[in-house]
Symmetry: D2
Subunit: 139 residues, 4 copies
Amino acid sequence: MGFTWRVTARFYEIDRAGIVFFARFYEYAHAAYEELMAEMFGSAEAMFSTFLFAMPLVHTEADYRRPVFMGDRLRVDVSLERLGRTSVTFRYRITGDEDGEERCTVRLVHAFVDRERFTPIEVPAVFHEALARVGMEKE
Amino acid sequence: MGFTWRVTARFYEIDRAGIVFFARFYEYAHAAYEELMAEMFGSAEAMFSTFLFAMPLVHTEADYRRPVFMGDRLRVDVSLERLGRTSVTFRYRITGDEDGEERCTVRLVHAFVDRERFTPIEVPAVFHEALARVGMEKE
Amino acid sequence: MGFTWRVTARFYEIDRAGIVFFARFYEYAHAAYEELMAEMFGSAEAMFSTFLFAMPLVHTEADYRRPVFMGDRLRVDVSLERLGRTSVTFRYRITGDEDGEERCTVRLVHAFVDRERFTPIEVPAVFHEALARVGMEKE
Amino acid sequence: MGFTWRVTARFYEIDRAGIVFFARFYEYAHAAYEELMAEMFGSAEAMFSTFLFAMPLVHTEADYRRPVFMGDRLRVDVSLERLGRTSVTFRYRITGDEDGEERCTVRLVHAFVDRERFTPIEVPAVFHEALARVGMEKE
């Protein structure tokens, strides 16, 4: 099970080579993550004001399969790739919304930390519960 | 009459002051412009490959009324502010999608030029026709 | 008198039309503003943590003269265009660092507000003094 | 041996969490890559207009060690991590310019392709020669 979000490639996301700049896919993935957080916690902002934990990124990576052009309608499928003791990895598979062909797959690895002291903590119970609530369980 | 498009303020569009950076509103406006072009010409890309004219920006401006925060759902209302002999000005009024309060109004002034020679030309007939087709006439 | 800062147009600032996207010039201008603030107050960060005032943008505008291409070396000349009772306008003239030809001129209008209550205040004395210190007086 | 470039974290690169957004480090790395290409080939633009090859990114990744704040002066040290038969990997180690402490390390993996047909090709001789010219050899 997972979470899906859609995005359109913009005029200003194109680079000198005429295709969407590679770092924009990280923005697409993070936007999908924000919508997932909104689904899990009511609003993306809630993540940053309500809870006592933060989820800084410790590793990010992307594999590029096909170029994306201005105006391309894309679909981002988010899945839970790994839920560790103190971290979580989400995978964002980006495909053409019409052809279904993969363009890029992004992985974002978040650590859980105490918001005040920024020290590592175990995945909070509220996060586990919210994942279950949106039906996004580790397969 | 006009054209409406919706956008959500993202985590990475926030600046050091904790609100959406002022230049992001120009991106919101241009994204709405791209969707308007898609409505007028079938696709935003068509503007850049089919026709013999280009529409470079010669002047842009924005007035800021209220700050925008992460996750805010916004509505961009596009209207034709001025259709000159060789230029067009679109106005983008950005409001909260729920409260209807103005956040920012952007104006983008495009000149029409010959795509090859980049010399000024009069507003092409196809542009006039496409404006009429989407019901966006100068009041 | 004024303040000068240099910047190079990047691969990822190019848009679908093959030139630097119009909103990037606002980023160049703001980066020059940050360096000016660093000159005036020791660091750009000081503006946001030390003082009791903030300088939100209330109006921004730009006029575009010539396109900018990837790798172009640019020079941004900052000058004080208007120092009002409760606001300040800086002008950023962006020229080719080699040919000296104008590419774009940006104007950023800041209001002065109380940091806590976000209500308008008169230009603080420390701001006047810092302007004088960097030799940037209203002509 | 390697190549060094410097960059300052900007007001508008900060995210909702108050630190430089994770994808901006990919922009810093690519800007350093552009300066390296300028060193190797006379100008970054030459890469895109003179030669018969292109270097699309096929994989990118980053590890984040410490947060970066507005105004932080950073140093990007570029080194050749792997020179394969048809690809090259550059590593970008980003450290504080004053404290020397690592903030982030980015890896960009480029494939070499024929510019026209976009089919894989071996690393061109001109690329090998240019690497040698800037003293950037595989250790």
